[in-house]
Amino acid sequence: MKKYLIPAISAAGILALSGVQADAREYKIGFIGPMSGGAAQLGQQMERGAKLYMKLHKGELGSHTVKMIVRDSKRPGGPIAKAAAQELITRENVELITGLIFSPNAMSVAPLINKSKTPVVIMNAGTAFIPNMSPHMVRVSFTMWQAGYIMGQHAANKMGCKTAVSGYSNYPPGKDSIAAFRKGFVASGGKVIDEIPMGGPAKVPDMTPFFQRAKSKNADCMYVFVPAGNHAAAVAKTYQALAMRKAGTKLVGPGDITQDTQLQGMGSAADGVVTAHHYNMFLKSAENQAFVKAWQAEYGANSVPDFVGVGGYDGMAAVYAAIKGANGGKLTAAGAMKVLRGWKYNSPRGPISIDAETGDIVQNVYISVVRQKGGKLVQEIQQKFEAVKDKCKELKLGKCGKKLY
């Protein structure tokens, strides 16, 4: 009797297993982004990126499907995003949360998901220490230090800047970004003579007083961080209006100030602006050209993807990878992290991976300069840095050096 029992049980087991696999499962995931209010275009861009991935990779999950539930985080601050996450976890029973444009959005969600053990894939928020806030989080976007530190080195070493002023939107990623620039710039022998807070992220201020103050310092370079979106065009326009290039101050920054969706509206103001960033739509790789083509086929020939859209696209690639890893079962934090920490992907921005230890993105950073070509603005890649890790965590600075949960 015993002889037959084991094969019988295993046969039953195999049957049960294959039964699970044949069952088409619907994976519910939550997507939190600013769908209304001043940053709605960022929410739209990120959602479009995510949905484009879903459309192009329909068959990838076999019979399983993904239902994306979108919730509005409205403002750059934390409370609304937190309430949205709470609702998604407790009422909608989502198995994963993604999206998250602004750093305070992501920070406010972290304590919640630590309790509920919901895996999170961050598609944008870039303050360096965020992944340290939860063992269940990974970030596919960027960290402020990737662009800021490299930009600081480049400004001092290649652009001949001996002194610099920084202007920043006064909230965590802004402080992060100028700290990164300062570190890179000073390490290469430069001197930062003034750091100017330029209002909060929610509202675009008249930039003139801040830029005029910067101009009066007569620095060789001005490094500016503002959140992508409404602020970007105001930066280039103010810089031009105050004739700062003529006065001898070069404008540099992370790619947020030359965001692809805002670029053409800047006109000649953006000509010559140098940025460090992980993506712009002019990258020549086959992956990127296919991505831009698919984007314009889906959203219209005049529509343009930018790094926020790529964040949404790659974020969804990560989500799909996690779901594939769950193999028809429930998507758990442990399971998702096992797949995602160490995950590699060929993104439109180049090869990316997630650092297994920190959960943060490792990717190329490009130095680009804006040029006018045939009545249009393009970004030319001048230099490429491969597989850049987050410098802040490498140097273990402040909150980057410790676990925050």
């Binding site: 001043g38 100017i196 807070p197 003139t208 007083p209 005029q212 009066s216 105001a234």
Partner: protein, 291 residues
Amino acid sequence: MSSFLIEITTVLVFGLAFSMLLFILSVGLSITMGLMGFANLAHGSFAMAGGYVTVSMVSKTGAPFAVALLVSFVIVALLSILFERVLYRHLYRRPELDQVLLTIGIVFASIATVTFIWGPDPQLILMPEYLSGSVDLGFNNFPRYHIFMIVAGAIIVAALFYGLERTNIGAQIRAAVDNRRMAESCGINTGRIFTWTFALGSGMAALGGGLGIQLLGGIKPVFALEYLVIFLIVIAVGGMGNIRGTFFAALILGIIDFAGKFYFPEGGAFIIFAVTIIVLLIRPHGLFGKA
């Protein structure tokens, strides 16, 4: 000495340009609140509509910037007459809460409408040659656009003062405000006066919306709400319905705001709130308001 001169002229010129924009944007609201006793929170929506008309004219039809501004003035003024006739006039004698509810509803509806038509991205236009670049005055240089803003603002201010103080229709408006019943007994059609005043104020807001595109980083759907607070501050400080008061309030707040941000970027944005509180503590009805 020369660096002091540079700083002083910088603060004055840039502050003045912002003041002019503030005045053009707020004066219409001051008129509707003071003259008609109507709390029109949707004032920013009319300004925003003006901005979008300007942007569309310039980028779609290639119209010159100045022409687009004038067209937006006319279109928005006409549009506001429609709103006044159909919606606002029923609420003139109703409590303020009703007025606020209606107009804030219009704000949200307008935000959704422009997002639907133009999308959430800020819309920008490339300025014509004569408005871009800067003017070098030897000791300091200034953006041409800011100079243009000051000149345009000065012309508008002068025209408004002349219109209200020296013309027959201006006298009728002032009469209607001071004592509506008496004005009506004298044969003044106050209903019509209010309609035209409202249209003028909304048209001015539209001009401000168009002029502000370059200074405020483009026109975008949240414009209607984002600048509401600053409109209300200008009016509270200046005194409702008082054009002279609105002008001086805009002047003071614009220059102080710039100076605050220039010298103390960390806390400069709050200085105008502090000034507002102090002014209202000393003069609760505003600088030129009637007690």
